[in-house]
Amino acid sequence: MRNKTLKGRVIVEGHCKAKALVSAKPISFLGGVDPATGKIVEKDHDLCGESVKGKILCFPHGHGSTVGSYVLYSLSKRHLAPKAIINQTADPVVVVGAIIADIPMIDQVDISLIKTGDLIEVDAKKGVVRILTDGES
């Protein structure tokens, strides 16, 4: 059992607890995530086929078209959005998307310390991420 606290920078305030979905690759929301299902559809992506719904989505940063911001909004309208977003380095596409979709967001976190399936708590008021239980245990 790891019980770790990671510090980061608050981008969008909020608080939640959920399972982590972690990728080592950047995500393009336009074309990379299906707004109708919430599934990652980008071929060759390490999370291809996974749903972002209800997860705490951890990835290095976004890339691709700025229309991607609107995809996050659309996901949240359909209750398919991630519960929170943790980035290594926030980029404009994801930041704007998180603001308009009102998804709690923190960046400047070392996401290599988080594993898919870990139960984590995001306190996006203080800018703190707590790994509560290990995904494997």
Binding site: I11, V12, P35, S65, T66, V67, S69, Y70, V71, Y73, S74, K77, A90, P92, V93, V95, V96, I99, I100
Partner: protein
């Protein structure tokens, strides 16, 4: 980031949800890029207008903003849409037309000018030194480098937020120290036409990434060639401006130098064609949108000529320029070509119209069409494009 009392009140929601959301976008982006404050802008230009590239998600957000009473505070223009009502619109299914028109309706409710062009500087030229929040990368490079206005390369949503607030975060190219050249480009070949200027842009974009160049060796260049250079530079690179070094305006002694030779330009021209074809489905001129002068030139070259039956010939521009060019438009249409207003080939449904092969003089279109339009591309200068349209 410093906010005035008024900006703070907007941030806290005193002016409603739309203004609050837009202010949050600007402040968060400002913090991300270490802006100290917001600056007033004289205009905003929003990309992400074509329903083909947008899909349904943005329309929902735009409608929510418009329903909450969102209104632009500065002149705000729009990028091209996916069809024109006179020609392409008639060949598309009703549901697509309706969805596109709904996007335009939401922008109109918020007070956007229905400019539908990627060359808003032909409609109203920004003042030298004025701050702008423009998306559309080709217009950003042109505005900074040729017009002398100041704008970062905005995304669709950040330009939208800037239009509604009338301000943009003060970072990047809004700061004089970030507009200085970082690298000297010596062009030791003479470029023969607009397509070669485009090829130079594609080549430099890859080399420069985000380093602003001072380019020397171009001589007196027509603005339409600089437009091709701007569009291409933005396609492959992140650089938002260039300087033309004609003599001693810029101190360049200490800069790193790179040389561009004839073979670099030729190789790039060749690489932009995916296939040599003598009978393309479409010959397309107007990326970025044509100026009045370009339409006149095309009309004169097409005089007493006929476009062959197997080939579509499109000239794209804004509605505003099309109206000004009425007599030349009539000439082009008499020869069997189509002058399309407010539409862009790259973001139109060419696949649905059966277009598999495109010939163009635009390096930007040649760069994007293989992926955006799933088309084979032949990249040739204007005169060869027109000759092909006539001959087939």
């Amino acid at each position: 980031m410093y906010l005035t009392k008024e900006e703070e009140r907007t941030y806290d929601g005193e002016r409603g949800w739309t203004d609050q959301t837009c202010m949050k976008i600007l402040v968060r982006l400002g913090e991300l890029f270490n802006a100290a404050k917001l600056v007033r802008i004289s205009s905003a230009h929003v990309s992400g207008v074509s329903y083909k590239t947008l899909g349904d998600a943005p329309a929902e957000f735009l409608e929510t903003l418009a329903n909450a009473g969102g209104k632009v505070r500065v002149r705000a223009t729009l990028n091209p849409q996916s069809f024109d009502s006179e020609y392409l619109g008639r060949r598309l299914e009703q549901s697509l037309r309706e969805k596109q028109l709904n996007v335009l309706k939401q922008f109109a409710r918020m007070g956007f000018t229905e400019s539908l062009t990627c060359t808003p500087y032909y409609l109203r030229k920004p003042k030298r030194g004025s701050h702008l929040a423009w998306a559309e990368s080709s217009a950003v490079v042109y505005a900074n480098s040729v017009v002398g206005a100041w704008t970062n390369r905005e995304g669709g949503p950040s330009a939208l937020a800037a239009a509604i607030i009338g301000k943009t975060p003060d970072y990047g190219i809004h700061k004089p120290e970030n507009r200085l050249p970082k690298i000297l480009v010596n062009v030791s070949t003479s470029l023969r036409n607009e397509s070669e200027f485009g090829a130079l842009g594609i080549h430099l974009g890859r080399l420069l990434k985000d380093e602003i160049p001072a380019i020397q060796g171009l001589g007196n260049t027509p603005e339409t060639c600089l437009k091709q250079l701007s569009a291409a530079l933005a396609s492959t690179g992140m650089v938002n401006m260039f300087h033309l070094n004609k003599g001693a305006q810029t101190k360049t002694e200490r800069l790193e130098k790179i040389n561009v030779e004839t073979k670099d330009v030729r190789k790039t021209v060749e690489s932009l064609s995916t296939r040599e074809q003598s009978e393309p489905d479409l010959v397309f001129i107007g990326c970025p949108h044509c100026s009045l002068g370009e339409i006149k030139e095309i009309a004169l070259l097409m005089k007493d000529k006929k476009v062959n039956e197997k080939t579509e010939f499109w000239v794209c521009t804004s509605q505003c320029i099309k109206e000004k060019a009425r007599e030349y438009v009539a000439q082009i249409e008499k020869s069997g070509g189509h002058v399309l207003a407010g539409v862009c080939t790259i973001v139109s449904w060419t696949e649905k119209l059966g277009i598999r092969t495109i010939m163009t003089n635009s390096a930007k279109t040649a760069y994007y069409a293989p992926t955006m339009n799933k088309a084979e591309v032949t990249f040739k200068p204007l005169k060869e494009c027109l000759a092909t349209a006539i001959r087939g």
